[in-house]
């Protein structure tokens, strides 16, 4: 590499955990590369080793306080394999699905109303003092209230299906530990119509914004990519289970309906010396071409259809924008995310009206196994949990691929595209900062699951020369 300077932005605001962005310049001040450094908290796999397998669905929630339900369910699915539960009872599977749709619903709603809506409602160039949730509260208080109430509703679903927020125990190896009582069902049913109505409104905001700003967004941090997700056997979007489907940027199939117990035949992880995060890729395409995106955009792109009527109508409209080909516009993540919010609300309504949730048959067991893989479509994308267990029931190996890891390369590319377009010289303008954040935020990354305890660092922007010396620093 020639003479380069490096601009570092850390941590990125309104994204989970601590991350920093380095923008590498050549001797002429031109952007050569951008890197999103993620301080991933390693060591969890070691932490889990030696524990009895039945504890794992509870223990893994300690990995991430942002999406504990996703880890809870992915681990439980892996442990289903360990205990030989090849097919759960209808009550168990539907209770887990209800829990999962509650998680997707509340996570997406929070992300959209409280993190993304300021960008959409005020514009990327709005004064940062206004372009935040406080600005939304002042100018659009009804939207801010909706965000709180949608989040609260999703959390109430989690509470009645998973138990305590800090110590969810609903899903257990082979099933679930409780059904849904009539009173719990009625409590949730009374608000579902309002929730669906709010979901429609959120979808409209995201769709209208994308369509109205299509020229600007088409080029904003966007690039062609492969897409990966779970898919139901009939090609429907399925956020809880299915086979793995991967498509390229044109929609051509790379692999389809892959049994994820054998995911290691298809997916591998590369280590790079400048990041603590791994870089997953599809083996048959190699490290350079095999990276892929996951999450709402990929799920809508890979699905043949959605099995709830209003979300399906929205999906058709979404796909029409790109003539039925995959949509590779990074900012379209928000539109796709709101399609999933509506889909989740419809699914929640359907499940609440399903009497299987009041069934008494909660757990099945079968032939004991020593290795199991559990996958789920978490709010941010495909989540992999892989365990080996010995004859003494202790976990001997754990490997997790979280969705933010799969989106590692795409986020780097998004930042690079933005930097190349908006950086001039070495000056870190407010406009550049805003746009870097907006591009990363589209992926809703959970950068780390670090402790949040009182006393954390502010946003700091540093300029570092090619010798590693900080030559400029700016903090909020």
């Amino acid at each position: 590499m020639g003479d380069t300077s490096r601009i570092i932005i850390e941590p990125v605001t309104r994204v989970e955990g601590h991350g920093k962005v380095s923008i590498l310049l050549d001797e002429n001040g031109q952007v050569t590369r951008a890197r999103l450094h993620i301080v991933e908290f390693r060591g969890f796999e070691r932490f889990i080793q030696g524990r009895p397998y039945w504890e794992v669905p509870v223990t893994v929630q300690r990995l991430c306080g942002i999406c504990p339900v996703s880890h809870h369910l992915a681990a439980a699915k892996a442990m289903d394999v360990i205990v030989g539960a090849d097919k759960l009872t209808p009550t168990a599977e539907k209770m887990r699905r209800l829990m999962h749709y509650g998680q997707i619903y509340q996570s997406h709603a929070l992300h959209f109303f409280h993190l993304v809506s300021p960008d959409l409602l005020f514009g990327f160039d709005a004064d940062p003092a206004v372009r935040n949730i406080i600005g939304v509260i002042k100018k659009y208080p009804e939207l801010a209230v909706q965000g709180v109430m949608m989040r609260k509703y999703g959390q109430e679903i989690i509470k009645v299906t998973a138990g305590k927020k800090i110590h969810g125990t609903g899903a257990i190896p082979g099933g679930i530990n409780k059904n849904l009582s009539i009173s719990e069902r009625d409590f949730l049913l009374k608000d579902i119509d309002q929730q669906i109505e709010w979901s429609r409104g959120a979808l409209k905001i995201a769709k209208d914004y994308t369509v109205e700003h299509l020229d600007e967004l088409s080029d904003f941090g966007s690039f062609d990519s492969n897409h990966l997700s779970l898919i139901r056997a009939d090609g429907a979007m399925d956020l809880y289970d299915g086979g793995l489907r991967a498509i390229d940027a044109e929609g051509n199939t790379i692999f389809d309906h892959v049994d994820y117990q054998g995911y290691t035949d298809y997916i591998a992880e590369e280590v790079k010396d400048w990041s603590y995060m791994k870089f997953p890729f599809m083996k048959q395409l190699g490290t350079e071409q095999g990276w892929y995106r996951v999450g709402p955009l990929s799920r809508v792109n890979t699905a043949d259809f959605i099995d709830t009527p209003e979300a399906e109508e929205a999906r058709i409209e979404f796909m029409a924008l790109t003539g039925g080909k995959p949509n590779n516009i990074t900012m379209a993540y928000h539109w796709a995310r709101m399609i999933e919010v509506l889909h989740s609300a419809e699914k929640i309504r359907d499940l609440l009206n399903d009497t299987d949730l009041q069934g008494e048959d909660l757990v099945v067991k079968g032939e004991r196994r020593f290795e199991g893989v559990g996958l789920i479509e978490a709010p941010r994308g495909t989540l992999f949990h892989h365990y080996r267990v010995n004859e003494d029931d202790q976990v001997t190996m754990a490997n997790l691929i979280v969705s933010t890891t799969s989106n590692n390369v795409p986020m780097n590319l998004a930042v690079e595209k933005v930097a190349k377009k908006y950086l001039s010289g070495t000056e870190i303008t407010e406009g550049l900062l805003n746009r870097v954040e907006v591009a990363i935020r589209a992926y809703d990354p959970c950068l780390s699951c670090a402790t949040h305890a009182l006393g954390k660092m502010p946003l700091t922007v540093s300029v570092v020369d090619h010798n590693g010396q900080v030559i400029n620093r700016r903090s909020t």
């Binding site: 309104r14 504990p68 409280h114 801010a144 965000g147 800090i166 402790t451």
Partner: protein, 164 residues
């Protein structure tokens, strides 16, 4: 002043899988066992926007969190509602949460932060260090006393232990 008729919400937060970061949830668990009339106890990994709805239904809110650098064994201070952006996203700070409850849901709750000093944070592990446990015991004794009259303002100090 007595607690009679007052509605108190205690929220202990933190990650029990990160050593002393579990001080907040452990404080909440121990408070819940006391089963005090008029006191609602909740715990979570972090504060979240939907907590504003619960806050709006109470007269007082006590946030209990691990503190990485504060006074030993704990500090107790008023939380002033303040609108600002947090670096974290799906979580929210106590003062921003109070501002949200006030602005959006017309909450008039008084809020206080109980910051319990911890020492070990940067590893996985479901245990609290011995010294932090001592601080937790003292924080519990303090809170039981403060809840007797709910006159929380008179206990406020950045360094409660030194001033008592």
């Amino acid at each position: 002043m007595s607690r009679q008729g007052k509605r108190v919400l205690i929220i202990g937060y933190g990650n029990p899988g990160r050593l002393d970061d579990g001080l907040g949830p452990e404080f909440a668990a121990r408070m819940e066992k006391l089963n005090l009339e008029g006191v609602t106890v909740d715990s979570n990994y972090q504060l979240a926007v939907e907590d504003a709805a619960a806050i709006a239904e109470h007269d007082f809110v006590i946030f209990a969190d691990a503190d990485t650098t504060g006074a030993e064994p704990f500090h107790f201070e008023a939380v002033v509602p303040r609108s600002h952006m947090s670096f974290s996203s799906h979580s929210i700070s106590a003062d921003a949460l109070m501002a949200m409850a006030e602005d959006l849901l017309s909450s008039r709750a008084e809020a206080y932060m109980l910051g319990i000093r911890g020492y070990e944070f940067n590893q996985f592990g479901e245990r609290i260090s011995p010294k932090a446990l001592e601080n937790l015991d003292r924080a519990l004794a303090f809170m039981k006393l403060a809840l007797e009259d709910c006159d929380f303002g008179k206990y406020v100090t950045r360094n409660t232990a030194e001033n008592r």
